[in-house]
């Protein structure tokens, strides 16, 4: 089992697929009881309602069975008290939500998160970082302009804030409370929750800009096929030519940033603005989507962070300064390097990359 796990993680940015699969499984687990519940619910609704009670009352005074069934239907009844769903007597979905959130989501989410961290560390230990085969040329070319960097770090920063506060909300009482105690944790989380709620929409903003900004560079390119075939060369150390972004990065961009980022941010909005009249059931569903999505996103991001920092030499500098060494560019993104050298414009929105001499 362990070996296959590691085999699957051959490509730096492919192994998160596995987690996507797991997420789907989780989603199915959510859906399954619901599907099972459906026919029963339908059968019940047929016999509920005033008419049934009226009939029952006539036949057997004081037999309120239809009313009691209706209580559990989750339908809204009459009440003079105003507020969200005040007319609902019992909403049983809350129990399901609680079971899923406190059960599999917290458990497997936590386990997997730790497992991913462990796996990455192990990978680092075993394989070490990707290094340049040739010596740096000392000539720098611009890989990310200022705007791109602002957007990236904006997204990354808000993401990290959200991740930390979000993890505290989900795992805090298991992990932090035993260390800090209730009071300190409570106060920290009051801040944390507000930060999470107000930073969330900012993250969405950055994410949207990022998607627009880099969508073009992340489109399918023929060279991607070879990259996939060779598993990115991660295991072999062979360098596979790729465009501005290699397929691993593209995967992160589409699955991580675009799909999961938007899912998590979007579901977050549903939870963040309950003032638009969402019912509890909606918010429960979106909470699960949010939490599962966020966990998967977090796991993917760990891979991305690894590759962007200690996983690949020079990658961090490219986002920090915006410039990469020509050797680095040739090694990792050969096609892009050639294009830049050829002066082909339009590699990044609005700015043609320009070469620059920088002391090594």
């Amino acid at each position: 089992m362990t070996t296959s796990l590691f085999k699957a993680r051959a490509g730096s940015d492919t192994w998160p697929w596995l987690f996507c699969l797991l997420a789907v499984c989780c989603a199915l687990a959510v859906a399954r009881p619901a599907l099972a519940e459906e026919p029963a619910a339908v059968a019940r609704s047929a016999e509920t309602g005033a008419a049934a009670q009226q009939k029952r009352q006539q036949e057997q005074p004081l037999n309120n069975a239809p009313v009691w069934r209706e209580v559990r239907s989750g339908d809204a009844h009459f009440t003079t008290v105003r507020g969200p769903e005040t007319g609902v007597l019992i909403q049983s979905e809350g129990q399901t939500w609680r079971a899923l959130r406190n059960g599999p989501v917290t458990l497997y989410g936590g386990v997997l998160l730790l497992a991913v961290i462990a796996a990455i560390l192990a990978f680092y230990k075993i394989k070490g970082p990707l290094t340049l085969h040739d010596a740096p040329s000392g000539r720098m070319i611009e890989r990310f302009n200022r705007f791109e960097r602002i957007v990236h770090w904006g997204t990354a920063g808000t993401f990290l804030i959200l991740a930390i506060t979000g993890l505290a909300i989900l795992f805090g009482k298991h992990v932090i409370v035993p260390i800090f105690g209730h009071t300190l944790f409570g106060y920290l989380l009051i801040v944390g929750k507000n930060v999470h709620n107000y930073v969330g929409p900012v993250f969405l903003g950055f994410t949207l800009v990022m998607i627009v900004m880099w969508a073009r560079d992340n489109l399918w390119h023929n060279c991607d096929a070879e990259w996939i075939r060779k598993g990115g060369g991660l295991a072999t150390g062979e360098h596979v030519p790729s465009g501005r972004f290699n397929f691993g990065e593209k995967t992160w961009f589409w699955i991580g940033v675009t799909v999961l980022g938007l899912t998590v941010a979007g579901s977050g909005l549903v939870l963040d603005f309950p003032n638009f009249g969402q019912v509890r059931q909606t918010m429960q569903t979106f909470n699960l989507i949010h939490v599962i999505g966020a966990l998967v996103l977090l796991m993917l991001s760990l891979g991305h962070i690894y590759m962007g920092t200690i996983g690949a030499h020079g990658a961090y500098d490219s986002m920090k300064t915006g410039y990469v060494d020509e050797t680095w560019a040739r090694t990792h993104h050969e096609l892009w390097y050639k294009e830049v050298k050829a002066g082909k414009p339009g590699q990044s929105p609005g700015h043609a990359p320009a070469a620059r001499e920088v002391a090594p």
Binding site: T106, G110, L114, A115, A118, A119, K125, I126
Partner: protein, 73 residues
């Protein structure tokens, strides 16, 4: 060697963590067992000053006021 140890560690960690699911922070209610946090108990307030029996009696009496049959018959 290194790899094996790490693998084992990872497996052990994973299994070990499997117990961290829903830690039932408040277990099922059990009669007579205080499961709460620091809070004075109702009979420890200024009114009863710790006299639990008196408090229970007061409550029992009070409870019967909700039963009009006690007054009517």
């Amino acid at each position: 060697m290194n790899t094996r140890i790490l693998t084992l560690l990872a497996v052990a960690g994973t299994l070990g963590l499997a117990a961290c699911g829903e830690r039932p922070q408040i277990v099922e209610y059990k009669q007579g067992q205080y499961q709460g946090k620091a809070d004075t108990r109702p009979w420890e307030g200024p009114a009863f000053k710790g006299d639990k029996v008196a408090w229970e009696n007061a409550l029992r009496n009070r409870n019967q006021s909700q039963n009009e049959y006690k007054r009517v018959e």
